[in-house]
Assembly symmetry: C2
Homo-oligomer: 272 residues x 2
Amino acid sequence: MDHLNVSERAAVSPEVAVSTVIFSLRRSTCEPSASAQLWIPLVRRTREPYRGQWALPGGPLAAHQSLQGAAAENLRTTTGLVPRYLEQLYTFGGVDRSPTQRVVTIAYWALVREDESGGDALFGTAWGARTVSSQIRDDPNVAWFPVDSPQVREGLAFDHSNIVDYALWRLRNKVTYGQIANRFVGETFTLGQVREVYEAVLGRRLDPANFRRQLMGAAGLEDTGEYLHGVKHRPPKLYRYVEPEPRAEQSEAEQTTNPSGTRPLAQEGSRA
Amino acid sequence: MDHLNVSERAAVSPEVAVSTVIFSLRRSTCEPSASAQLWIPLVRRTREPYRGQWALPGGPLAAHQSLQGAAAENLRTTTGLVPRYLEQLYTFGGVDRSPTQRVVTIAYWALVREDESGGDALFGTAWGARTVSSQIRDDPNVAWFPVDSPQVREGLAFDHSNIVDYALWRLRNKVTYGQIANRFVGETFTLGQVREVYEAVLGRRLDPANFRRQLMGAAGLEDTGEYLHGVKHRPPKLYRYVEPEPRAEQSEAEQTTNPSGTRPLAQEGSRA
DNA sequence: CCAATAGTGTCTGTAAGACAGTATGCT
DNA sequence: AGCATACTGTCTTACAGACACTATTGG
């Protein structure tokens, strides 16, 4: 009967790992006219299996490390960046994921902003300028790839291409409602910039007029009174986000797209 | 550098367990007028920690068992029932979840139909009749509880009350769109029966007229031509569901509520 | 006839998408 | 002036919710 409960026996447990899909927004060329694209950092494997192939940043879970903590650690080690958003994606535990031993991988996905440590912002005072940047670590075994590239979609180690696919799907669903896009932009921003984020994530053009209405209607936007100059047309207003309700609890483990926005959080911190 | 990749070192991994929240629909009384409610089976712990308390069915992951396979096994062992729906919920890995040792629990949630093995259907030829039933195993350490009960909402072992809360939220979101409610009803059914499922899950009454329109518009419903008799009013039509597209692949690991219905599946079977 | 549910039709408010049109900067 | 983008307003369509009304059984 005791096999029905979480057991305290020292069973032969599979290896537990945490991997993270880290999305950032960049332009493929230095043309300001080029539309932004999603990129992710990958790490080259230095040992078997899949030696030499690219894989998601990740590693085994340390004994007294929380899952989310491990994901944040992946992010910091690989990119030196701080996550603007971090959420558990799914747990992959197929028996044959790794040819050598059983590994259960808890996958997370994260959003970062390019400009957070050194270097120009993607949406800085002017568009573009510096686009492939913030390679804080000059490690040759870390590199950024566009999520659209065949390298990413098919060529990753283990089942990591699958994981990226799934993370991308999740991002697209999340961005439709709610406050996800603002994780890509800076403190102040124009509506055009936010719209460009949506267009990059969703992969299609959006009507500026309708987009404005939706965003103004729903989100906690505040007019800063400032304008963005240096563009070669009418200068747009700068906005900033305001937190709707500053409750003490910070949600994390939120999981599922829901129409009405954010909600329930299977607690994950120290006790969940 | 190698700590960035999934490692093949024999690290000291935490215990890996799989637990399952199993929803079924029942009436609290034998009155046909009483509205249906969600119930889940729990298992009483026979050892420390939390000895004597109720917990979700679950247990350590066996070496060559898939995650979903383990969840299905939980279900079969506890209830003898076959899942009509089974999906990964979330992975709980907080350092202090268990007082004795580190346990990472991959939680699943499932829907079952009461009538699947022996006994009358909940929605059989007549309403009600047999409501607390299909206790296939006469194990005193297994019992069904209404999800609303304080026992379930607060009194479970570990963080299992949290897990149930989260599963309930997920179910409510999933049922809004898509083909979830049909997992609770039999082969043929009336629209009133499906509506009752929605009402039980969502916890509020729905307008019969509007509900009909919605369901007829979206889902693959087929009029059987039959009517349900034995009711003390106008006999309703019996319908059946038709699969929209019988592709070979069966999805499983689908995760997130999305407005447009079913979609992407992080593959889980033998390779994910 | 009455009670109760099945099933149909209509109205209204909200919101999304299409799109015309105005405003204001730069070259 | 001409262009590019910001920003405003309007029209249409779709759909959800409210609700009136008819249909058909059992008691």
